[in-house]
């Protein structure tokens, strides 16, 4: 009885989550430039459009560049901070932990508007690099959380053991801490990368008038009517996210990364 109920419930949730994506996937293979479902005819040309149309291609390049760089910067901010908080007793340093988590916890409009007023006041409004910094700050929470989890999973006696065997602080970091924390760095980077790729409001408020990322491009296209490329880009996004998170799950412990420490015992 329970198992039937569970299957039904899982199916309904899965349907709810998948339905819009199924429709979008169907729409993306329409032969003509109309919004129709079930699709009329079949064509993969709208996927080619992402790469052949200069506007979409530039938006894709801008999004990927932004995501690659901002995720890197986010990890560069989070790693020393998480390491310091793990290594040292400095209660007041927790304020930076709080600051690192705040941008992601508050409504995104707040961070976006803060960035907008800041860059405008500082005179850098519209510069592409401001979007990199803004995204790095906005998403620093993700590597910070995965890295903090990762550090707590390192047995401190490993560090002590390395010290008794002659390793100084930097040798310990290089030979023990870094290899053990590496999977968490990778997953923190992956989380930040995927979310940056999808982010709209912060990018829009910082560089929206000078540069188009894919979400901005989709939104602009949405306001001026419909083109099936929107649908094919959407499918591309979902697939990218699924592949990246799938890889994280394949090479890391996803339940643990999401805070389920007890999963070790199963």
């Amino acid at each position: 009885m329970t198992s039937v109920f569970r299957r039904l419930y899982f199916f309904l949730i899965a349907l709810f989550l998948a339905l819009p994506l199924i429709v979008v996937a169907g729409v993306s293979v329409n032969q003509k430039q109309t919004l129709a479902f079930p699709p009329e005819g079949f064509s993969a040309s709208w996927y080619g459009e992402i790469f052949s149309n200069a506007e979409w291609r530039n938006a894709l390049a801008a999004s990927v560049t932004l995501a690659l760089l901002s995720a890197m910067l986010a990890v560069a901010i989070a790693l020393p901070l998480a390491w310091f908080l793990w290594r040292r007793v400095a209660p007041w340093a927790n304020i930076f932990q709080l600051l690192g988590v705040a941008p992601f916890t508050l409504p995104p409009v707040i961070t976006a508007l803060g960035m907008l007023t800041f860059w405008a006041t500082a005179g850098f409004y519209g510069q592409p690099w401001t979007a990199v910094v803004s995204h790095a700050i906005f998403f620093v929470t993700l590597p910070l959380v995965t890295l903090s989890l990762g550090f707590t999973s390192i047995d401190r006696s490993l560090v002590e053991a390395a010290a008794t065997m002659g390793a100084d602080e930097s040798a310990i970091f290089r030979t023990v801490v870094l290899p053990l924390i590496l999977p968490y760095i990778v997953s923190g980077y992956a989380f930040a990368f995927v979310l940056s790729l999808n982010e709209y409001i912060v990018a829009y408020m910082t560089v929206g008038f000078t540069m188009e990322t894919l979400p901005i491009k989709i939104f602009n296209a949405l306001r001026y009517g419909y083109t099936p490329t929107m649908a094919s880009v959407t499918v591309l996004f979902v697939a990218t996210a699924a592949v990246i998170f799938g890889l994280v799950a394949r090479f890391g412990d996803l339940p643990k990364l999401l805070g389920a420490m007890a999963s070790d015992e199963k």
Partner: protein
């Protein structure tokens, strides 16, 4: 002098004094077991010897050199942790080679030493295995080999065998002792298992409440415990109050015991009698009289619980040596002065 010397070592965590004024001389090549209940300060003491904690005051010397403030990584130690602390991202061979790699020893030398150590711990050919694929006893031996890789001046072990099951633990105790004797290395083991301490140590250091209660050879600790804590903690014992009567003779429960020496001038003292030294006699034939309350037959030995004037005395004997007694039966208890240890206060 050569060896390890602790001088007036004190460690405080906030207001809590974990180690209180500890003095200890460990001559070169000695095997020392630090024994005590949990929270007695033995692990903290070991961590200070390793440099993982700094003493609040006092000094630690090794071969005449003051190492109190020398950082851990410059002390040339080998240490085995309670959790073993094997590096999960390295293979067996890489784990053992770690101290050599950190000291930038040439690759061939590292390999040679690893092979040497692996055959010493009977794991030749295991160099390329991940540590996660080893059994408990094998991990244990890898941790020991890793700690010995540089032939350290000091070999420290924190509850090293606590994760093993009873049989394996006993076998490892013997192995560890033989290894230490072969290498002649100064070794300090922290344990709460007194059998382990008795098996391995040249010197047993019994600690309680952050202080050393007695430091002596295992047999002396057992035969001549310094105080009632040591007597009670090491093995089983009967602690009995003795008093001097009006003529100055020692009495136990009001019955005089001939030949029992009380400390000069003392009106009362605690005496310790090991259960195997308590002999049961016919009623009236021993120094004390009592009644059997419980008999525990363990096969190899039999424990007889005797109630004497409201206090319980336990006698242990082999089945052959024991007179037939049953619960409720009156018996005599013989106390020969040479087996009674009068404890200091």
């Amino acid at each position: 002098m050569s060896g390890l010397v602790l001088q007036k070592v004190v460690k405080e965590f906030g207001v809590f004094r974990a180690v209180n004024d500890v003095n200890l001389d460990v001559p070169h090549g000695t095997f020392v077991c630090m024994l005590g209940p949990s929270g007695c300060g033995k692990t903290t003491l070991l961590r200070m010897i390793a440099g993982l904690d700094l003493p609040t005051s006092g000094a630690i010397r090794l071969d005449g050199e003051d190492i109190t403030r020398v950082p851990t990584h410059k002390r040339n130690l080998g240490m085995v942790f309670q959790s073993l602390a094997l590096f999960p991202h390295l293979t067996v061979g890489e784990n053992i080679a770690y101290p050599l790699r950190i000291r930038k020893a040439p690759k061939e030398e590292q390999k040679k030493r690893v092979d040497e150590l692996l055959s010493m711990i009977h794991l030749a050919g295991y160099a390329d295995r991940p540590v996660s694929k080893l059994s408990g006893g094998q991990r244990q031996r890898v941790a020991i080999a890793r700690a010995l890789a540089i032939s350290p001046k000091l070999f420290l072990l924190d509850e090293p065998l606590s994760a093993l099951d009873a049989k394996l633990r006993e076998a490892m105790q013997v192995e560890l002792r033989q290894l230490q004797q072969k290498l002649g290395i100064t070794t300090i083991v922290v344990t709460h298992d007194q059998r382990e301490a008795m098996t391995m140590a040249d010197t047993v250091v019994v600690m309680n409440g952050g202080e050393i209660r007695q430091a002596a050879s295992p047999i002396e600790i057992y035969r001549r415990p310094a105080d009632s804590f040591v007597a009670d903690f090491i093995g089983q014992t009967n602690l009995i109050e003795a008093e001097a009567d009006s003529q100055g003779r020692a009495t136990v429960f009001g019955q005089p015991v001939a030949g029992l020496p009380l400390p000069p001038g003392a009106a009362r003292a605690t005496i310790s009698i090991r259960p195997e030294d308590v002999h049961l006699t016919a009623p009236g034939a021993g120094a004390l009289n009592g009644k059997v309350t419980f008999v525990r037959d363990l096969g190899g030995t039999i424990e007889t619980f005797v109630d004497v004037a409201g206090r319980q005395i336990v006698a242990v004997s082999t089945p052959r040596a024991r007179p037939e007694v049953a619960v409720g039966q009156p018996v005599g208890v013989a106390l020969t002065p040479d087996v009674c240890v009068v404890l200091g206060k």
